[in-house]
Symmetry: C2
Subunit: 319 residues, 2 copies
């Protein structure tokens, strides 16, 4: 483990992932309280809402109200999620508060694309071509290629590293056509199929083909392997992770009712900091925010660490 | 990950760890139902009870009744735990059903030894010397040196690899004095301090000093890092793990109320099998036993996998 990175970037997605899936209702004030508390922990990137159809995702019907109430802290990037031009336009209304950039979002599984978007991979490429153009027309840079179902799929089964590379290549081709500079390739374990060995194969294949582009991971803890996957990725030069405080979120896909959410931010921070990798995060403060997240959603979250507490607290007591 | 082992041995400790800590009361019949179901999953080693003081550990007041009701399945080793001559004598009454062997059990933390046993390390060595002699006098081989708090301690803080090696050496000296052949060194992350890097350092130091002796790990998931620690250990040649179905158990130590239990057997099996490492276990059957364990204890267990289900189920559906 001599080749561990010195620092990692954490993109906190707890508010967006969590409040989209919780049965709620959760008040706008509670959402803002969590976001504001997260911004005091040392996290530099927080995804605060999703501009989606409120009939399909009632938990984000108040996306505008959350952005309106947001009090940005200098040095923190607040991001939002959108899937189409309508969503982009809603986000643009808050462009003075939000860090705006676009993604070319694909899936390595054709079956997943059909189930999730009701269209095939080729049609999805056309849609992403159009969406990229819309972003550029609005002055929003498209800097990221994202691949969902990069390590396996509930509808298609195993996904090879070759399929991941081909999917990334399809996204890079769109970027090249439109003159976009891709800064990050994000591989998502959307349905919790990743293992350390699949992370090694997928990440290695992508890094070999695009050595100059940073690779990020979006991990779900559906089967308890997320932290093991992150630990493996750290040794492969992955320096960007999406995660959620308390392990907020879940898996909205077939057969996964009650499944765990994303990798838990506190556990990711503990993993990194205890191995000498800087996250910039005050872990004890973040643990308190994890406990706040439990109070807001009104049930236990998957995080073990918010129950056990950090090691530093014990170190201080032992000293 | 080319040096992964072909197979690992799993020592299922769910009944012993779980029923000692659950507030219960849990009936002897329920305990036996769980043990019998575990024996049908392909697990080869199951720790069924603890012969401890029933006033201190009321959950194991029925250890004799469990052993009396046990219907052994050929090919499965049933083990029990004891800490003194009285416990050994109680276990010996069931020696036709139990796989009997002794341990030299120490802790790498002097502060933990004092808190846990109310004696220092040197006194504990004397006690282990006597206990080893008692085992040998009763015809029970002493084959294992165990080190608790091997990766950190709530009372002492960080533990170095050197402290672990010294503690193992102290145990090996007792074994040598009394002519015991130690077959396994077991390192326990008793209070959930391990990280992949501490596992690497501790295991490497022990393997370097005693290359011919198998190393096993007893991992707790107190802070969510147990599976990451196991994944790291697999690459270091560790081929024996203690674990608990559903993640039964917990941490009985200071400041850890509500803390998670041991590494979850289902998640360990998934990790291994999905990386081509044989466990002998039928995962779908084990997941059903995890769900049974939840019904028996009457609350959610930490296992994510018993909610999400195995990947094979999805593979079959996708095919």
């Amino acid at each position: 483990m001599t080749d561990l990175p010195k620092a990692v970037h954490i993109h906190e997605e707890g508010p967006r992932e969590g409040f989209q899936i919780e049965p709620g209702p959760i008040s706008t004030a509670d959402k803002l309280e969590l976001i504001h508390a997260l911004a005091e922990t040392g996290l530099h990137h927080i995804q605060v809402c999703s501009f989606v159809n409120p009939r399909l995702v009632p938990g984000w019907a108040d996306a505008e109200a959350v952005c309106a109430g947001l009090r940005p802290v200098p040095g923190v990037d607040y991001t939002a999620l959108w899937f189409n031009e309508n969503g982009l336009n809603r986000a643009l209304a808050f462009s003075e508060k939000l860090a705006m950039s676009g993604s070319i979002s694909l899936a390595a599984s054709e079956a997943f694309t059909r189930k999730n978007l009701n269209r095939g991979h080729q049609e999805n490429l056309d849609a992403m071509r159009k969406q990229t153009a819309v972003h550029l027309r609005n002055g929003i840079a498209v800097t990221r290629v994202g691949v969902m179902a990069a390590f396996g799929c509930n509808y298609q089964g195993d996904i090879s590293a070759g399929q991941v590379v081909q999917t990334v290549a399809d996204g890079m081709a769109i970027a090249a056509e439109q003159g976009c500079t891709i800064e990050r390739i994000s591989l998502a374990d959307t349905m919790g199929w990743a293992t350390p060995i699949r992370i090694e194969r997928g990440v290695a294949a992508v890094r070999e083909r695009w050595p100059e582009i940073a690779v990020g991971l979006h991990l779900h803890d559906t089967r308890g392997l997320a932290v093991a996957n992150a630990a493996t990725a750290l040794r492969l030069g992955v320096t960007q992770f999406d995660s959620t405080v308390g392990g907020l979120g879940g898996c909205p896909f077939a057969g996964q009712k009650g499944a765990a959410g994303n990798i838990c931010t506190e556990e990711l921070v503990l993993l990194c900091e205890e191995m000498g990798i800087s996250t910039g995060v005050d872990l004890d403060r973040l643990i308190e925010v994890g406990r706040m997240a439990e109070r807001i959603v009104g049930h236990m979250l998957p995080s073990e660490l918010i129950r056990a507490g950090s090691l530093d607290a014990f170190r201080k007591r032992a000293a």
